[in-house]
Amino acid sequence: MDDANAATGNGNSHQTSLGDSSVLDVYPLSCYYFGSMDSVPFKNETVADRVLRMKANYDAYGMRNCVAAVIVYVSALQPELVVMDKVELFKHPHLLLLQVQNSIYKLPGGRLRPGESDIQCLKRKLSSKLSAGEDGRGPEWEIGECLGVWWRPGFETLLYPYLPPNTKRPKECIKLFLVKLPTSRRFIVPKNFRLLAVPLCQLHDNDETYGPIISGVPQLLSKFSFNFVEP
């Protein structure tokens, strides 16, 4: 299994000075339970309507602050080759995504309420989208570090992973946080959403399918080395 270790570890046999915060424990998909709950309405609006809605919200509340959760676990990929009658299953980290309708993918998360902190909002959104309810009866979510921030300088402009110079009044700010999964978990998802585990290799550079934020997640995660924990 030495070869497999070379692929999944960071290849450096020396202790780095980074400490434990750069090692992520990930557990196999089989440790998690998936159920469903009632549909959550999804705002199906045109681009023009969306811009109007954002402008109205901006006038009322100021810059839109959003948070999104990056949840990683491991799933064995389908083997494409059988080598010498032995099927090798390669462990590769996967990202948890919600698929709404056929072509829209989102990270679990959403907009902050006035006065709410990033962490509070993320916990609230995770509970409402991924577990039994918003009332906090679900298990605690462990929110880790902020991995990255995306900015939208204007209502109709794109998102950028930095604040473009001369942007005096950014319209939206999206913060991505690492969410650590415990050894096992019940995920309860609204019926109109599909919960997917997408391998990082499928997300990388795939702006057209997933958009810049999701396709940029593998780069944000590259600083971590994954510790694949067998159940």
């Binding site: 070869d3 497999a4 070379a6 692929a7 999944t8 960071n10 290849g11 450096n12 020396h14 780095t16 000075s17 980074l18 400490g19 915060s21 750069s22 990929l77 494409e80 080759l81 090798e88 390669f90 462990k91 590769h92 980290p93 880790g144 570090e145 902020c146 991995l147 990255g148 921030v149 995306w150 950028y160 992973p161 930095y162 473009p164 110079p165 001369n166 391998p199 990082l200 290799c201 990388h204 550079d205 940029g216 593998p218 780069q219 944000l220 995660l221 590259s222 600083k223 080395s225």
Partner: protein, 205 residues
């Protein structure tokens, strides 16, 4: 979480730049480089390299015409230091670790070799921060990925990018055949013409 989210950057004017003797690239073409990598791989196994991300704030002032008025706009935007070889090829300061060398020590060695003056009294104290990205090269080709691709059991190179904290005043001496550029983040983002643009683009996040 021990990592600090705030990186101190200092204006370009507080740094002093000198030159030193040229430091030639070992390879004259991409093909040569990949051939040399193969030879090294046979001898030493997977290549581990480290690069440093040195950030500084650059204060720019420019004028634009708005109707009949001339407006002066100023902005402060973080820039990354890149070494430019020839006219188009840019890279982060860094390089390959010697067998058995510690990552941090190796990065300091490379930074001094590329950016510091030769005299021992002017050596900067490099402050190496966290590792912000790891890139993998699965084959003897130029493509790298921010994860080890599945089905790859023997990656050819692992490159780690570290944030380097600059103090408020440094003396840099750059080999005569290289140019030290301070490139703003917005120019790196999505710019595939800059070599390792994808490797550097992540820092913008």
């Amino acid at each position: 979480m021990v990592t600090s989210q705030v990186v101190n950057t200092y204006p370009l004017s507080s740094y002093t730049f000198g030159t030193k003797e040229p430091k030639m690239e070992k390879d004259t073409s991409v093909a040569d480089r990949l051939a040399r990598m193969k030879v090294n791989y046979m001898k030493e196994g997977m290549r581990t390299s480290v690069d440093g991300i040195l950030l500084k704030n650059v204060f720019t002032k420019f004028c634009i015409r708005r109707g009949i008025n001339l407006q002066v706009q100023e902005h402060n935007h973080p820039h990354i230091l890149l070494l430019q070889i020839g006219n188009t090829f840019c890279k982060l300061p860094g390089g390959r670790l010697k067998p058995g060398e510690n990552e941090i020590e190796g990065l300091k060695r490379k930074l001094s070799s590329k950016l510091a003056a030769n005299s021992p009294s002017l050596q900067p104290e490099w402050q190496i921060g966290e590792c912000v990205a790891t890139w993998w090269r699965p084959n003897f080709e130029t493509t790298m990925y921010p994860y080890c691709p599945p089905h790859i059991t023997k990656p050819k190179e692992c490159k780690k990018l570290f944030l380097v904290h600059l103090s408020d005043h440094e003396y840099f001496a750059v080999p005569k055949n290289l140019k030290l550029l301070a490139v703003p983040l917005f120019e790196l983002y999505d710019n595939v013409q800059v070599r390792q643009g994808s490797v550097v683009g992540i820092v913008a996040t």
